[in-house]
Amino acid sequence: MYQYDEIDQGIVDERVAQFRDQTRRYLAGKLSEDDFRPLRLQNGLYIQRHAPMLRVAIPYGLLSARQLRKLAHIARTYDRGYGHFSTRQNIQFNWPTLESVPDILAELASVEMHAIQTSGNCVRNTTTDHFAGIAPDEIVDSFVWCELIRQWSTLHPEFTFLPRKFKIAVTGATTDRAAIQVHDIGLQAVKNAAGETGFRVLVGGGLGRTPIIGHFIRAFLPWQHLLSYLDAVLRVYNRYGRRDNKYKARIKILVKELTPAVFAQKVEEEWAHLKDGPATLITEEIERIEARFTRPQYQVLKANDVEFDVALATRPGFAAWVKRNVHAHKLPGYAAVTLSLKKTGVAPGDATADQMDAIAALADSYSFGELRVSHEQNLILADVRKSDLLAIWQAAKTLGLATPNIGLLTNIIACPGGDFCSLANAKSLPVADAITRRFDDLDYLHDIGELDLNISGCINSCGHHHVGHIGVLGVDKAGEEWYQVSIGGSQGVDASLGKVLGPSFAQEEIPDVIEKLIDCYIERRDGDAERFIDTVRRIGLEPFKQQVYARATRTPAPETLSA
């Protein structure tokens, strides 16, 4: 956990005071609705369907137990007792009053948190691998770099009014768990032959209306130049990105219109002026930030724990949970645990205040008082001893957080959808609920195997439907809610965008459609090691299309028959 120094704290405190004054002026009629809007958005405050929605930053998904308790307190005091963890590792509160937001921000500041730039046309919260620092396949620990980017992007004087929102993701591992290929900038931390850290830079990836996989514009950016290079990319975007049409304003459109090669050249030209300037990073700063991170004081443990092995062999429920929800750790005797926020009957990513408090207690007891938010909307205890896994499983079960579905169909990613969001065309939560109910049989779920199912309530794609193995998108047709289904999307190193199956479906048809897709997969898979996405890639869309639409052919309308 990065710990603020006095200056970091001062900036966050002053931001609270600034927003308190802006809110006061707005309520007093001295700041118009139009003027207030961009200002409140840059503090994470939306005006939603029912009430304001406040999005709180959880920088790169890292959270302390103390902070989680504060979030629980906020949920209880200012909201209706729960919060929603989002796909960008943030948390959203759906029911605060506008008047209370400055107080909420002050509460957050008291635990070194904020809502700065969680919305608006500016650089948003930087996201990363939820296994940063502990993954066996990690090359570079991304946390220090993410914190540097957080500081660089916070109240940046030049880039606070960009053409559109701007999202940066960083990964330091060989497996990309941060979806860097679908971000405005994706940074893959690597080491060169001399063992020096640098970044492969991608730009112009993104979901939304025009999903695009990012383009590599630099093979190796030495770490010293990270910030000046980001300045160069952002300056080219700020100056030349389209502002005439908000649907064409993301950097991906600029990169596409210029071509990645020309865009890269413009960045290089800009960077030539900025390179080696004052923004050039220095070893002392990297060391200073590293020293402000609390790091777990690991014990030297044996790789195997006898009691753990016995429990694994004798308790099938525990074994199923370990298989899906426990992940490898770089150190012997340690593991990472995903606490699933995807229980049947609960909106994906939702946690109650009581659950948050209980999870904070688990983090304190078993994981050095820290946890992470994954972009799959779950919470992770990253540093637990294998010998504690049984106790954690038992506690998690009691709390309803032990659904062994990580990586499986019911680990659905979903945006809040039409129940809460004023942008949405359609509801997403009832669809997620209907699907999890249909696939509630755990044996069947495990037999289906790894499958990402992502649901977005509209083309803004907050539910990342484009990169779901199965993606569901809410669309509006003459005022009615319909759902378009795509398959073949994937995130990670082999990222791909899903293809639409065909005509849309009514809400109640979706569980059947998913079931038919699964049936088709089960029939045609090349053994159970072949995942759904592999089968789609091997046999293409057609067999799935036929299965889904064959029986769905509707009886022609009566007048057609009589004609």
């Binding site: 109240l155 004087p157 030049e158 606070t160 700063e285």
Partner: protein
Amino acid sequence: MPTLIKHRKLATAADTWTLLQEGEAFPASGDVIVPLSLWLGKREVLLKRVGRTGVWLKPEDEPALLAHDFAVLPLIAVHFPAFTDGRGYSTARLLRERHGFGGELRAFGDVLRDNIFYLSRVGFDAIALREDQDAAQALGAFGDFSEAYQSSVERPQPLFRRRTGLSA
């Protein structure tokens, strides 16, 4: 008339500059701020007038086009058609940092007190607020934040170099 802030204070002397819109004829005398297109087309004629000449830039105008004219330009103004259009911030930094403009750099248009902190950091030393803004109260916005992380025109050394005492 928008209220003018200069060097973090309310401008006391009357503002002698007249801003000309595109296509507007320039007067025979007096201080005028002309559009870039007029400057590029009538530079010599403008310079022979009685009175000073400044140039204003639209968000999409290229500041490099003025880089050789700084000796004869006491003022460059940057227009913000909407306060959410952030191109003018890049324009200002380029004028100050890349091209070394040392004259008055003025922001005008849809400029709110809530932009002052950013504007002052990218090198604007004159800010003409939108007419409905309370300029006297707006002065407080210079002090909204006592520190900032990034390198800027105002403080070229980013916080991390000032923290460690290692300047570039």
